[in-house]
Amino acid sequence: MNPASTLPESPVLPPRDYQVYSGDDLATNVLEVAMGPQHPSTHGVFRMDVSLDGETVVKLKPVFGYLHRNHEKIAENVTYLSSMPYTDRLDYFCSMTNNWAYAMTVEKLTGIAVPERAEYIRVIMAELTRLQNHASLVGFFVNDLGASGTPLLYAMREREHILDLFEWASGARMMCNYFRFGGCRNDLPPGWLQQCRKVVDAFPAFMDEFEKLLTENEIIISRTQKVGILPRPLAINAGITGPMLRASGVDYDIRKVDNYGIYNRFNFRVPLGEVGDCYDRFMLRLLEMHESVSILKQALDSIPEGPVIGDVKARNFRPKVGEAYGRIEAPKGELGFFLVSDGSPKPYRYRVRPPSLINLTVLEDMCLGHKIADAVIILGSVDIVLGEVDR
């Protein structure tokens, strides 16, 4: 299949031909609601300017920037290393993968090699991050559906075990700030790997419970299936990445495509959706968690001993002139960092390609014609974190 060939001639904005009923007998008007920024289910300070015909969404404009702190400008005014703790605060659910993407880009820029053990630690941390992100996303998603927090709190309970591991290794639960250029900040404390194995081994039991609670539930099925369908050509053209893209049936996982780190050593499959609706996006995350557990088991089996950081100086770190674009498969999609160096200790240009922001591009296309209740769950299924959208 050639995705490009299936595109319409001018694929910018699909026709928005929703007609508001305006018969002679009834004077009707659209209802304009600004959902957010202090709406309970917008995942932070996010606003949707919605026009409603009854309860049906006629127009929807995402508005954000309430959390904007110009991360890129801050990073251009501090040294390369000092930006590392700021990357934690992009997508505060997945600080480990943010660290990895940034460290990898700097390594690309300077050509620093990463020791074997550090690569394994990075994979373990990234997959643990993916587990906790997907679990809590599914929880938040079902919360948007109106389940008074139960699946979310089950997810948070499991996340607790993973955050304990993060705290043990890095000293902080969420703002890990653990990876460094050329490795990791410190080696894993003794006993960490055994505990990690315990957590990973216990995880499938949680997922079985989770799936029993959610996947067969008639209310969830009827509310999510055929809601918010994202067609494949639009998904590709709009630069959608991560589970959302794969739910639309596009086989594109950067772990497989770029083989960054040491992902080519592990056996894992990439689940694909068929329809591209909310249910597919929700199921894809559950299926990806199974694959992450499998990667974790392989990595824990084969992690070697050795140093965790190469010979990189912490002070006076000056990459040579050049530019580099590094990207990883973060839990929310493609997280890219683009660095331009002019040879000084501070980056000349520092750019984050946030997956959540770009996945929001198609929000309106997915929501049109659905009910306002669906708009909320479609937003939930996109998986945004406002720290990353607004930067």
């Binding site: 289910s41 389940a147 008074s148 139960t150 068929e274 597919d280 306002i372 209740a373």
Partner: protein, 415 residues
Amino acid sequence: MILNTLLDNPDQILVNLFHQGAALLQACPALVIALGILLSTVPLVAIFPACFAITTWLERKGLARIQNRIGPNRAGWFGLLQPMADGIKMLLKEDIVPQTSDRLAHFLAPVLLLIPAFTVLSVLPFSRNMIPAAADTGVILFFALGSISTLPVFMAGWSSHNKYSLLGGMRAIAQMVSYEIPLVLSTVTVVMLTGSLNTVKIVEFQQVTHWIEGSNPALQILGQVLKWNVFTPWGFTGFLIFFISSLAEINRCPFDLPEADSEIVAGHLTEYSGFKYALFFMGEYVSAFAISGLAVTLFLGGWSGPNIRPWWSEDPRALLIPGFVWFFLKMFALILIMIWIRGTLPRLRVDHLMAFAWKFLMPLALINIFIAGAYYYLPHWIGWPAGLIVIYACYEGLGRINRRHLGPKRIYRYA
């Protein structure tokens, strides 16, 4: 002497107490009437708010445990004083009324919600001879009064001058009006079989009256339970339909669309704060008690339950455990099931809600009426299994028809 009369039948202890009191006041009949009025209203207004406080605690604690949390545990022993703390907080909160709101309607809505919520309690028989208003049209009265509560919800939604409130109010109207129909249709079966709209008669219909003569005590206890309407095919279906529709009537999860927090903030409650909000909250819970009480009366045998005769008593109708204990136990059991459901299920969507009422519950309730009619005329050994089979077939058929558009279970492929 008085004590002896009281203890002779523990089941009727409160009734006898009233009679003793009335005997003392015999000289002045007006006082007796006044006492009667007081005794049938004050306990309702006192006990049900207390039940409301207990239920909020139960709900918070139960939901917390379902979600693997601890729940309130700081205020008092096991957090038992939490409802009181909440109440004080609600009282002290500033009462905010939006500037552009319709002030009169905004003020009246919570008050008007409470009136029908408390009034409908009067037709519920809490125990033998313990019914505030033994009306012959009890069930009709209940629904007639109960349906008023739609109006204050819409009043609240309209008067708040808030778009979310308006959406919530509109949802409430649509939902409550639609679910009234399966709710009433499911009670028709009970009324048919009993032949009366009187709630006392309905409960007595579900009792084995001559159980004392039976020899085996275990069978006696069992016999008190098996006669409940819920243990017949039509009664079971009716109970399920009634319970599901009542969840929608009182805006409980999974039908809490009018106050869907993740969609329309708090629906009609968005612009309410402080004590008005607390009144709304209480009104909803009292309605929940009322409708659970009616479910108990109609299907779960009312005040009857496994019981034995006090060995010291000479009254042939004496019972050891007072009937109101059973009544409140059953009512709280239903409330706990509501909490359990709230801890498990997500919310329906507006159109699914309507489709479920009109395309599933209503046909099923109509079929159920026919089955109840057939059950009445057929011998029980045919009526029972045949009814069950027909009900199951209809359930399955309706379920398939309603889920036709969803397609088969999805199987995911891997790249």
